[in-house]
């Protein structure tokens, strides 16, 4: 056990010990400092749980949460939402014919809006049972290619395999996500009460995150002459058009910065999801609703196969509030938690009142 004799600290001790009696007084005392920290006496708050502190806490939580919940619930209920499943699984559905068609197929589904949709109306397409969050699917992309990196354009990341090259040419954009881009086209036609129809203007831009369109996704060599920029690449297998011809109407909305493409590339968290498709901007006069009640037709160019994975396709029209789309759950959650707390508080109060009083009485000697 000589270990300590040979470490410096002990050595000191011995030296001081051997100074002799004269030096004994000079030896520094090894007494520990009497500080609050070292003596573990830091001023501390001990949450003392008494009726006086716990009961109010419960009530306060209850009283805060319940109104918030009600507010959220009401807000959510005020949001108008309309949904059409156009998968065409039902044999009566107009789109049933398109299920097994290999060529582009168009179908139209009439529907009626009972209530007017005010303000900006958001048009979503929704997919069910589509596992966009599958691990290998999520990985199958090349962010630097999408960011306009030239070398990545021609030599995409290995993560894109097996959608990396096709016929010896690099795929742009590569990867499974891009390959499975949603390619149905949806159009809305409004039938005025006088039977005349109007195609509702759908805005294609502004549907993706600003940072995505401006920072994360960039076309190689800027936006000029995309055809040249994408020279030497090929389109993904499932695509009908190359990436620079995604939006024939707006040249700015082509290539990697195509917003439909960007929206698709933001992989959904859950297998049932919706993605923003178009925005129906509110009328400038603010008097007539964006979508007045009445009859509409959804015109679909049915391309996207979902049968293989038992999926469904939906079109969703929704207004939006400060808290996003229609979702009553959060309101309910708040109300529930608040109620539970409140209930606990009430129960405890009753108990406390009853038994606390009794104890007080008992204290008084008869």
């Amino acid at each position: 056990m000589m270990a300590s004799s040979y470490n410096a600290k002990e050595e000191d001790g011995h030296h001081s010990g051997s100074v002799g009696p004269g030096g004994a007084g000079a030896v520094k005392s090894r007494k520990p400092d009497n500080t609050a920290f070292k003596q573990q006496r830091l001023p501390a708050w001990q949450p003392i749980l008494t009726a006086g502190t716990v009961l109010p806490a419960f009530f306060v939580i209850g009283l805060i949460f319940i109104p918030i919940g009600i507010g959220l619930f009401v807000t959510s209920n005020n949001i108008k939402e309309f949904e059409i499943d156009y998968t065409g699984m039902d044999p009566d559905s107009p789109c049933n014919m398109c299920i097994n068609s290999t060529t582009p197929c168009r179908c139209s589904i009439p529907f009626t809006l009972e209530q007017p949709f005010e303000n900006n109306v958001f048009m979503y397409y929704g997919l069910s049972n589509f596992y966009q969050n599958h691990r290998r699917y999520v990985k199958s992309r090349d962010d630097s290619q999408l960011n306009g990196d030239k070398s990545s354009l021609l030599y995409p990341s290995k993560e894109c395999e097996p959608y990396r090259t096709r016929n010896g040419l690099p795929v742009a954009p590569c990867g499974a996500i891009a390959n499975s881009l949603f390619n149905d086209t949806l159009e809305l036609i409004y039938y005025y009460p006088n039977k005349s129809s109007m195609s509702i203007p759908l805005v294609k831009t502004g549907i993706a995150w600003w940072t995505d369109t401006h920072v994360k996704f960039r076309n190689p060599g800027g936006n000029n002459n995309l055809t040249a920029a994408f020279k030497g690449t090929t389109k993904p297998e499932n695509w009908q058009n190359p990436v620079y011809e995604l939006d024939p109407t707006n040249p700015e909305n082509n290539g990697f910065v195509n917003e439909d493409f960007i929206v698709w590339m933001r992989t959904a968290a859950l297998p049932t999801f919706r993605k923003l498709y178009r925005i129906i901007q509110k009328k400038k006069d603010n008097l007539t609703p964006t979508l007045p009640p009445g009859n509409y037709t959804l015109e679909i160019t049915y391309n996207y196969p979902v049968i293989s994975f038992d999926g469904h396709k939906r079109m969703i029209l929704s207004t939006i509030s400060w808290m996003g789309g229609k979702n009553p759950f959060l309101g309910i959650a708040y109300i529930t938690v608040g109620s539970v707390c409140f209930f606990l508080g009430v129960v405890l109060l009753i108990i406390h009142h009853k038994f606390g009083n009794r104890n007080n009485n008992a204290d008084i000697p008869n």
Partner: protein
């Protein structure tokens, strides 16, 4: 290896022995330049290197060492797995981060430690010493590291030895050299070393250049007490080398001007370094338990992975051949079969879920433990002002074991007592001298008045110091000294100074030094001395002295000289008083004359009989003969006596005659001070404290020891002046003989006299009263009386020693001497022969008297024992002392209570022991089981039996009044067992029975136990009862016990450092054990237990989030939590708060813990961390993760949220939840807790924001660019952050309320009406409980785990908890009504939950104990009193009375 052979001329036994020995030759014979010729070149140099690594080897070696820990291998495996593309889950580099982090933290710690070692090595290596240089022909300064085997080293006083050196020359005329071995074994007394035999007689100074011998000795070994070898001179003569010739590295030279030696072992081959076996590693119980749960975590992990893999296979299978677009093909473009992808997925899941095995747990635990050790170190309450020492934690990793101790095994002497022996009383020749004044003086120590002391100490000590200078004044002072002393010495300041000095003066405190003599005895001493002087003056034979007076004189002579005390002068404590009286003293002894006038004897006599002389065969036999032959005749004695008389007659003034006889000037080596200078202040250094106590006692009677040389002891007697006894032999103390003897030639009678001092049990048996009538009768009477007094002393708790003498006739002596010398020179079994020789000598003794020495209890020992016992600790005392003394000390320190019944086991044989154990067991069982009447009879029979078996028994009043308090009595048993019986009882066949008896006794006392037995007892209890044991002791005899116990505690007290060296914790005093265990132990345990549980919870909760997600991503192993968060969550974001809480949290304040030692039981029963708690935490973790997963899930269901925009809030929620959870678990909030939590949150957001803004394209695949920034602008995110953590902890919070309601210490102490407050809380807690039950029931899928059936069966401590809630509530009396209400309210739940589990959950917990305790102790009495006074129906009375019974589980008796 010993290749010196070719150049070896005079090595007779070469070939065979070479492999076993080392040959050392002087380096100076060989030129340094031609190193290869030097036969010593193969030996290790003196440079030491205790570092583990070099710059180059650090990385590989450290990594290699770290991979010995299984966890590290596991994590590296996982990180490497991530490099395999098919299964990888994260960026491979990132996945390496945690394991690299952990490894580097450990590596940095190791590096730092190594650097410290390196620095201290360097410091040591660069110390200076004098080495003989061949070219310069003188000693030159050199660094230690340059010293080599075979170098000659000159050592000066107070130098530290650089290597193991064979002593060749010493400035001491006797060829002695004193060393202090404090650094080796901590013993502060000096040890003598001898110059190698053949070098003693050198007349001139030793000249290295003439040295031409060869040394052959053992190879380096670590046995400090063994060294064998021989030195071969050029002449071919061989001399033996022994341990006494070797000076060990690390020791300090004392009392010796100069010594020269040759280096034998250097550097790492020195014995000191070979003994250097580094710190010990123990694994604490908590860690063992933790490892079980880590194992469970692995199981959970595998189950989860297996589940996911199966799920994935099925998910794949459902699509059949239709391959959906999101099921990405393999890189080769082919699809994977469901089975194969399930297998791949299994591996992926292991990577993803790896966090479940808490990688940082091990590191965190180490950090927390270091902090805990730091705080224990810093505790000012554990600092002892007197010795300027504080607690040392020598083992860093078992702090939490301190909180779980169940058995304490304590040494007695030095541990419970001070080991400061104080002479109390004595009996001489059958007359008892009670020393009342002395007792009074001792009593005064208890009530010290500091003011008085200060003035007296100033007035008392200082003038005395100044007044010395001449014989006369010193004598005057000496007289006043004893009367003054007792007042002066109470001074605390004095005590402190003495204790500071105690490093230099072993075993002496003022308390021991100053003894007030008994006036009666004093008179007799004076009378005897006067008579002797008279007789000497008149040349009468001394045998005419009345026998009682001669006994008294002999008694004091024995006290003074029968020891190994070394005398030193005060100013240079370590410098022995080094003059030789025969040369300088004016007083001539008979021996002087003989020596002067018979020169032939001078040399032989002087070196013959030193303490441990290892005389060679030839010279000793010479000496033996000469000493017999030269025995002086009667006439010569007479003439010498005349001379003597002349001298003493003149007293103190030196005269002509002295000058004639003292050719040497009277100045001493030390300087001009004459030897009498500090007569009253001579310091005695004894090997054991009782020796010193006796010498000081004798000094009080003016019989003072003034000098000790190897061959001579000088003492001063009143009137007679100085007498020098020729010391023929000293037969040292050993634990088998239990006595020591000196053989001296009495200067007055010239008889060869043996003085023996030893334990009464052995010495009394050796007394042989003379056969002739009157004397024999008298002796028998004395013997009888002495025995009587001895018993009295023992009953007073005094240590008793018997003093006896024996006069040997010359023939007897010659006969004995011959055989003794044979024994001494024997080569084989020398020890045994010497032992037998000693036995032959110590026979037919004549009893002189006996002494009683008090071993004072340390301060606060009874209180400490009482409180430790309240804490449920079983305290066993294992002592080497004899039974009576031990029992009395046990009573004094309240280990045994007077009302306790004592079972004494003293057996003579194995069978008797078995029978006794059987008997006791039956007796105890009878007490346990039978009705009171049966029990009483059993008691009686047992008492009879006991009286049969044991001569000594403490009357126990409780035994007779048993019936009413019967259940209590069972536990009020004390067991006393002696060493011999213990040996039988520890036999395999009896150990179970012994344990059964011992554990049903409240206290166990093992007397007369050897060190080995001590450790066997500890081992037995530890292994058989599966309990946590703590051994505490202070001496070398406790070392084995300390090493065996789970926690070894050493008292850094009087008996050196061996115990401390072996211990895990070293305390200055026994009483500090209380705070160490009750406060620090409890804290460390509860902190660490909570932290570990929290760790498991945290990891499980986090991982479960990902697990739930697997149901929504096709079990594809996709985490929605970004990999960065996933990896750094444990490592960074949530790491600090738990470390702070784990280090600083106090569940109960220190004051409360000490006031209510019962709280300690929570640790003993592992209540903070029971197996079910792990599962409760797991369930809670799963519940919380469900909340944290599904609230965002539903909030974002069917929305356009993307994977990581959804996963980031979940991460945030998880962080908030676990912080909130920690907040609930934290009982005391200091600013550091707040700061750490705030830091965690800020760190998370800062990292997240920075990370999400840093790079738009990196961090594939998650690429969370701008996610956090966007979330912070989303009201939904805040709404989630508010509701989710609250909902998650909603079940735990009420539970926590229930369990910890009165957890803090003060609330009831404040606003009056304590009991109401407490009761209100209790009511409150019960209600919460009820509500919680409903909630629990309401939560679907949340089932409470089944209780583990083994729990009750395993325990040696199955606490009798209140079995069911109703019963428990009745205990609270006032709460009954509520209980009924609660019961109806929660009726269904009571039946749903297993009742026992219910009871356990509710009562196991510390705070519930606390609640109940407080209820009983504070509220209960008054409240019930009021209740009774009130107009309540009287039917409740009996119930209330039963409720007064203490809660069964609160009492330590409630074991078994």
């Amino acid at each position: 290896m010993r290749t010196s052979a070719p150049s070896l001329k005079a090595s007779p036994a070469k070939s065979k022995k070479e492999s076993k020995t080392r040959t050392v030759r002087a380096n100076i014979l060989y030129d340094r330049a031609k190193g290869e010729e030097n036969p010593n070149r193969h030996y290790a140099s003196n440079k030491i290197k205790t570092t583990k690594y070099t710059l180059l080897s650090f990385l590989p070696k450290n990594l290699f060492e770290q991979f010995h820990r299984f966890a590290n291998v596991y994590f590296v495996f996982i990180a490497l797995l991530n490099f395999v593309p098919v299964v990888n889950a994260f960026q491979p580099e990132l996945a390496l981060a945690p394991v690299v982090f952990i490894l580097s933290v450990t590596a940095i710690k190791d590096l730092w430690e190594d650097y410290r070692r390196h620095r201290s090595d360097k410091e040591i290596n660069h110390m200076d010493c004098l080495v003989y240089n061949r070219n310069e022909r003188r000693y030159m300064e050199k660094y230690w590291k340059e010293v080599r085997v075979g170098d000659f080293i000159r050592l000066r006083c107070n130098e530290i030895l650089p290597a193991d050196v064979l002593l060749l020359s010493s400035s001491d005329p006797d060829g002695l050299c004193h060393i202090e071995t404090a650094t080796l074994d901590g013993e502060t007394n000096l040890k003598q070393r001898q110059v190698v035999r053949s070098f003693i007689d050198l007349d001139c100074e030793f000249d290295p250049s003439k040295y031409n011998s060869v040394i052959e000795c053992e190879k380096p070994n670590n046995d400090l007490n063994r060294f064998r070898g021989y030195i071969i001179h050029r002449s071919g003569r061989r001399d033996g080398l022994y341990k006494v010739n070797l000076l060990l590295r690390g020791c300090t030279i004392r009392n010796t001007e100069e010594a020269v030696g040759i280096v034998i072992y250097a550097g790492h081959e020195t014995k000191a370094m070979l003994n250097n076996n580094g710190p010990r590693y123990k694994r604490s119980r908590l860690e063992r338990q933790m490892n079980v749960d880590v194992f469970w975590c692995v199981i959970i992990l595998l189950v989860m992975c297996l589940f996911s893999a199966t799920g994935h296979g099925l998910w794949m299978f459902q699509y059949g051949d239709k391959r959906p677009v999101f099921d990405v093909l393999s890189p080769e473009g082919t699809g994977l079969s469901p089975v194969l992808s399930a297998i791949y997925l299994f591996l992926t899941m292991i990577i993803v879920f790896q966090v479940l095995i808490p990688i940082s747990l091990f590191v965190s635990i180490e950090i927390v433990k270091i902090c805990q050790v730091y705080f224990i170190h810093q505790d000012v309450d554990l600092y002892d002002e007197e010795t300027d020492s504080h607690l040392q934690c020598r083992a860093l990793n078992i702090t939490e074991d301190l909180g779980q101790m169940q058995y304490i095994f304590s040494d007695k002497t030095g541990t419970l007592t001070d080991n400061k022996m104080v002479f109390r009383r004595c009996t001489v020749a059958g007359v008892e001298y009670s020393h009342d004044a002395n007792a009074k003086r001792l009593a005064m120590y208890q009530e010290v008045d500091s003011e008085e002391e200060e003035c007296t100490s100033h007035g008392g000590t200082l003038p005395r110091r100044e007044s010395v200078g001449s014989h006369q004044s010193s004598k005057v002072v000496l007289r006043s000294h004893s009367t003054k002393s007792h007042r002066r010495t109470g001074s605390r300041a004095e005590a402190k100074r003495a204790s500071i000095l105690s490093k230099h003066t072993a075993f002496s405190s003022p308390m021991e030094k100053d003894i007030t003599p008994d006036p009666q005895l004093m008179d007799k001493v004076n009378e005897g001395a006067t008579q002797m002087e008279f007789m000497r003056f008149h040349s009468q034979p001394l045998s005419q002295l009345p026998s009682d007076l001669s006994d008294i004189i002999d008694f004091f002579i024995a006290l003074t000289i029968c020891n190994t005390v070394v005398v030193s002068s005060p100013n240079q404590p370590r410098q022995k008083v080094r003059m030789r009286f025969e040369l300088k003293s004016p007083v001539k002894t008979i021996e002087d004359f003989i020596k002067r006038f018979t020169p032939s004897r001078l040399t032989s006599g002087s070196n013959s009989s030193s303490l441990s002389s290892l005389v060679t065969n030839r010279s000793s036999s010479n000496r033996g003969c000469s000493s017999i032959l030269s025995s002086p005749s009667a006439e010569s004695t007479l003439t010498k006596l005349n001379e003597e008389r002349l001298q003493t007659g003149r007293g103190t003034s030196p005269g002509l005659l002295e000058h004639a006889f003292s050719p040497v000037p009277t100045t001493t080596v030390d300087g001009a001070k004459p030897w009498t200078l500090g007569e009253g202040e001579l310091r005695y250094e004894a090997e054991s404290p009782d020796e010193a106590a006796l010498v000081y006692a004798a000094r009080a009677y003016k019989c003072s020891l003034v000098g000790r040389l190897p061959d001579q002891v000088t003492m001063e007697l009143p009137h007679l002046g100085k007498l020098s006894f020729e010391l023929l032999h000293t037969i040292g103390f050993d634990s088998t003989r239990k006595r020591m003897s000196v053989v001296v030639r009495h200067p007055l009678t010239d008889q060869i006299t043996v003085y023996t001092k030893g334990a009464d049990s052995v010495v009394m048996d050796l007394i042989r009263p003379p056969t002739d009538d009157t004397k024999g009768k008298r002796q028998k009477k004395i013997l009888y009386k002495t025995q009587h007094y001895l018993n009295l002393y023992a009953a007073d708790g005094l240590r008793t020693l018997c003093i006896a003498k024996k006069v040997l006739s010359k023939e007897e002596y010659a006969g004995w001497l011959r055989r003794h010398l044979e024994a001494e020179t024997a080569i084989h079994s020398r020890e045994e022969l010497l032992f037998e020789s000693a036995l032959r000598l110590e026979t037919n003794l004549h009893l002189l008297g006996a002494t009683g020495i008090e071993d004072r209890l340390q301060d606060g020992v009874p209180e400490t024992i009482a409180s430790l016992r309240k804490a449920g600790l079983q305290i066993w005392v294992l002592t080497g002392d004899k039974q009576e003394t031990a029992i009395n000390i046990a009573y004094a320190c309240r280990l045994l209570e007077p009302e306790e019944e004592l079972i004494t086991l003293n057996a003579e044989s194995q069978d008797a022991c078995a029978m006794l154990l059987e008997e006791s067991l039956r007796y105890i069982q009878a007490k346990f089981l039978c009705s009171s009447s049966a029990e009483q009879s059993a008691t009686k029979t047992f008492q009879q039996q006991q009286q049969h078996f044991t001569p000594f028994r403490i009357p126990s009043p409780a035994a007779t009044t048993s019936s009413s308090t019967a259940p209590f009595l069972v536990h009020r048993l004390g067991l006393v067992i002696d060493g011999r019986t213990l040996a039988y009882a520890l036999d395999k066949s009896l150990e179970d029975k012994f344990l059964a008896v011992a554990r049903s006794c409240r206290s166990v006392l093992c007397c007369r136990s050897t060190p080995l037995q001590k450790s066997m007892v500890v081992k037995l209890v530890r292994n058989k009862l599966k309990v946590m044991t703590l051994a505490i002791g202070d001496g070398a005899n406790d070392v084995s016990m300390i090493q065996v116990a789970d926690v070894g505690v050493g008292i850094s007290g009087q008996e050196g450092m061996q115990a401390v060296m072996a211990s895990d914790f070293a305390l200055p005093r026994f009483r500090y054990l209380q705070k160490l265990l009750l406060v620090h132990g409890h804290w460390c345990y509860s902190r660490l237990a909570n932290m570990i549980l929290y760790f498991f919870y945290k990891n499980a909760m986090f991982v479960a989030l990902i697990f739930w997600y697997q149901f929504y991503c096709g079990f594809s192993g996709s985490p929605m939590i970004d990999q960065w968060y996933l990896i750094f969550f444990n490592l960074m974001f949530s790491a600090f708060p738990q470390l702070i809480t784990g280090t600083l949290d106090k569940d109960v304040s220190a004051e409360t813990l000490q006031e209510l030692p019962q709280l300690y039981m929570s640790g003993q029963n592992s209540e903070e961390y029971k197996p079910y708690m792990f599962w409760m935490n797991m369930i809670d973790a799963f519940y919380q993760s469900l909340i944290c997963f599904f609230i965002p899930y539903f909030a974002y269901a069917d929305s356009d949220v993307d994977l990581f925009t959804w996963g980031t809030p979940i991460t945030t929620l998880a962080l908030f939840t676990i912080l909130l959870h920690l907040g609930i678990e934290t009982k005391t909030w200091t600013w550091m807790n707040w700061a750490s939590i705030a830091f965690s949150v800020i760190l998370f957001f800062a990292v997240a924001l920075g990370y999400n803004a840093s790079c738009p394209t990196c961090y594939s695949p998650s690429n969370p660019y701008w996610t956090m920034q966007r979330l912070l602008g989303d009201p939904l995110f805040y709404l989630l952050c508010l509701v989710t953590p609250l909902a998650a902890v909603l079940p735990r919070y009420p539970t926590h309320l229930v369990l910890s309601a009165p957890g803090s210490s003060e609330p009831w102490g404040c606003v009056g009406g304590e009991e109401r407050l407490v009761e209100g809380r209790c009511v409150y807690v019960l209600c919460l409980f009820a509500v919680f039950q409903i909630l629990l029931q309401g939560v679907p899928g949340l089932s409470v785990p089944q209780p583990r059936p083994s729990r009750k069966a395993t325990g040696q401590t199955p606490p009798r908890h209140p079995q069911e809630p109703p019963e428990f509530e009745q205990n609270e009396g006032g709460v009954t009504e509520l209980a009924v209400w609660t019961q109806t309210f929660t009726f269904p739940i009571f039946w749903i939950l297993p009742k026992r589990l219910w009871a356990e959950i509710s009562t196991d917990h510390l705070h519930f104990h606390f609640l109940l305790l407080v209820l009983q102790q504070k509220a209960g009495e008054t409240w019930r009193h009021q209740k009774l006074k009130g107009s309540r129906d009287t039917e409740q009375l009996p119930e209330l009375q039963t409720s007064r019974k203490p809660h069964p589980s609160l009492w330590p008796e409630n074991r078994e």
